[in-house]
């Protein structure tokens, strides 16, 4: 009797091991495409581009690639310290990039103007739609249309048409009696604002996320507050904002990451360049021009890593400050 039960235990053990292997094999089979993608298209390229960032890799002459140490990074940030020309570690005399800091400034201006404006507008529209009204799903759909189409080349083409000197916007403004109107896209003072406006116009996704968040706030909170004599403004700051703060944080981070990588609209509106006086030279656009117009893929890789560092640092910063303004309410 004892021997048969031993054998049984033995059997279930081996089948347990076999099952363990089978289960792992099955799981990894399902995971194979993703793993392959991760290693070949993410991890390897990341390491490779990190290395490329320290070389003078030129796409047209890859065989003469040389290690230039921090050369690419000096090209970017040298002008900050008054360096316009320097000798890299391979002995090559290099010029600092006169437009890099400009592209950084343009991108920061864009992100810091477009993201808050878009979030404020999205929240305002979400609150407008968060009422017991009929046809809200229909309205929500209509308000989403600009976002649906806004990222396309088609809309960028349209945007150029709207903000030209003789475009629709100026026609409308002159109809209202304004004179001496500029060509918004060709004037370096305003060109970036047309892109910011285009970004704010695509407030749809943030609006839908805010709307979902607003629906989670119990009606009773507002009722209790108004019984206590709190007016609408006070209710907004004492109830809506704190309870919505996790959603605000989420939208803020997502929109910020997206805004740093904006490319299509600037490329089309600037006609493949940074626009007049590089007033719309977005970071990614500059990266594209360096990498694919001038074939300097080593320099472009270094730029990409700086972008990653900036986005990473700012995201971390936002999360750090979130301790002070985001409440993961205990109410629910």
């Amino acid at each position: 009797m004892a021997s048969t039960s031993d054998a049984k235990i033995q059997m279930s053990r081996t089948s347990g091991v076999a099952r363990f292997f089978r289960r792992n094999a099955t799981a990894y089979m399902f995971l194979t495409p993703w793993l392959l993608g991760f290693f070949v298209l993410t991890l390897y390229p990341m390491l490779y581009s990190f290395w490329l960032g320290f070389t003078n890799y030129d796409f047209t002459k890859p065989n003469s690639t040389e290690w230039i140490g921090l050369g690419n990074y000096v090209r970017m940030f040298g002008p900050l310290f008054g360096i316009s020309q320097f000798t890299a570690s391979n002995g090559e005399v290099m010029r600092a990039d006169p437009y890099y800091l400009k592209s950084l400034t343009v991108t920061f201006n864009y992100v810091f103007a477009a993201v808050p404006l878009k979030l404020i507008f999205a929240l305002a529209v979400a609150m407008l739609l968060n009422q017991r009204l009929r046809w809200v799903p229909f309205y929500r759909a209509v308000y989403y249309i600009p976002t649906l189409l806004g990222g396309s080349v088609a809309v960028a083409v349209l945007w150029r048409k709207l903000f030209e000197r003789d475009g629709l916007v100026n026609s409308a403004l002159s109809f209202l009696g304004f004179t001496n109107l500029p060509g918004w896209i060709t004037n370096p003072k305003y060109a970036l604002w047309t892109l910011i406006l285009l970004s704010v116009w695509q407030f749809g996704s943030s609006m839908i996320i805010f709307l979902a968040g607003l629906k989670q706030i119990p009606e009773e909170y507002y009722e209790a507050a108004s019984v206590d004599g709190a007016n609408k403004v006070r209710q907004f700051f004492a109830i809506t904002i704190p309870l919505l703060s996790p959603v605000i944080l989420f939208n803020l981070v997502m929109q910020m990451i997206g805004a740093f990588q904006a490319f299509t609209q600037a490329y089309i509106i600037g006609g493949g360049s940074g626009g007049v006086l590089n007033s719309t030279l977005f970071y990614t656009l500059h990266l594209y021009i360096q990498g694919w117009t001038y074939h300097e893929l080593g320099y472009a890789s270094a730029m990409a890593w700086v972008l990653l560092a900036i986005i990473g640092a700012l995201t971390a910063l936002v999360f750090r400050t979130s301790d002070f303004w985001v409440s993961y309410g205990t109410g629910e």
Partner: protein, 281 residues
Amino acid sequence: MKTSTVVRHTLTHLFIIALGLLMIYPIVWMIVSSFKPNNMIFSDPGLIPKAVTLENYISGWRGYAGVSFGRFFLNSLILCAGAVAGNLIACTMAAYAFGRLKFVGRSFWFAVMMLTLMLPGHVTIVPQYILFNSFGWVGTFLPILVPKFLATDAFFVFLLVQFIRSLPKELDDAAIIDGCSQAGVFLRIIVPLATPALVTTALFTFLWTWDDFFNHLLYLTNPSIFSVSRALRTFVGDAGAVSNWGGALAMATLSMIPPFILFFALQKYFVEGIATTGIKG
């Protein structure tokens, strides 16, 4: 009391409608202008055209470098169909492994996948380009399609993992007891039940591929394989020399039709997809 509520509601509706009209005015204007004669597009900001013509559509459709817009539309549709197929297969497979199967290293790989979610694509774009170029793939659809079959859109893996985790596990167990294999559970239980999330994945993959420009700019290097978005860019040449605005607006209008149809047909999936994962539209 009652009448004041009615008045307030009416005013709110009117305000929402007015603001909505302002929001979509540029797009409506574009559609209307595409039917105006080329020389009147500039001078006529109104919505009611003084003369209607199809000449913009005819001249725009002729396309670029001897390739008509029909070809560009076909190319875009091929790209979208391939991308949708790739994402559905590869992302669902990965999501099933992460969401349902127990294996050594699961939490590690899941954390890695979540990290790639936030990674700006630009850090990998240069080596990918060098790699695809060494394969001789620049100038073909492959650099855009192959990554989709390798589940590089972590967003959808995440979306599908969330959905698959919400499905009752008892169904899998019952099927296993009945002698179904893991692959059988995947095909017969998970895939059918995950349909809403699969529709969301397909929808967003289609829209993003349709609207994508950066990858098309890098890899679609000759007119015979241009996508619609890449082709539209040629209407707005370098330094912005546009000769045929009418044609540009007409083709831009046509290019908006597929996203528009999908959006209104599948609105439910759309809103759920955005609200649950915060996908950027």
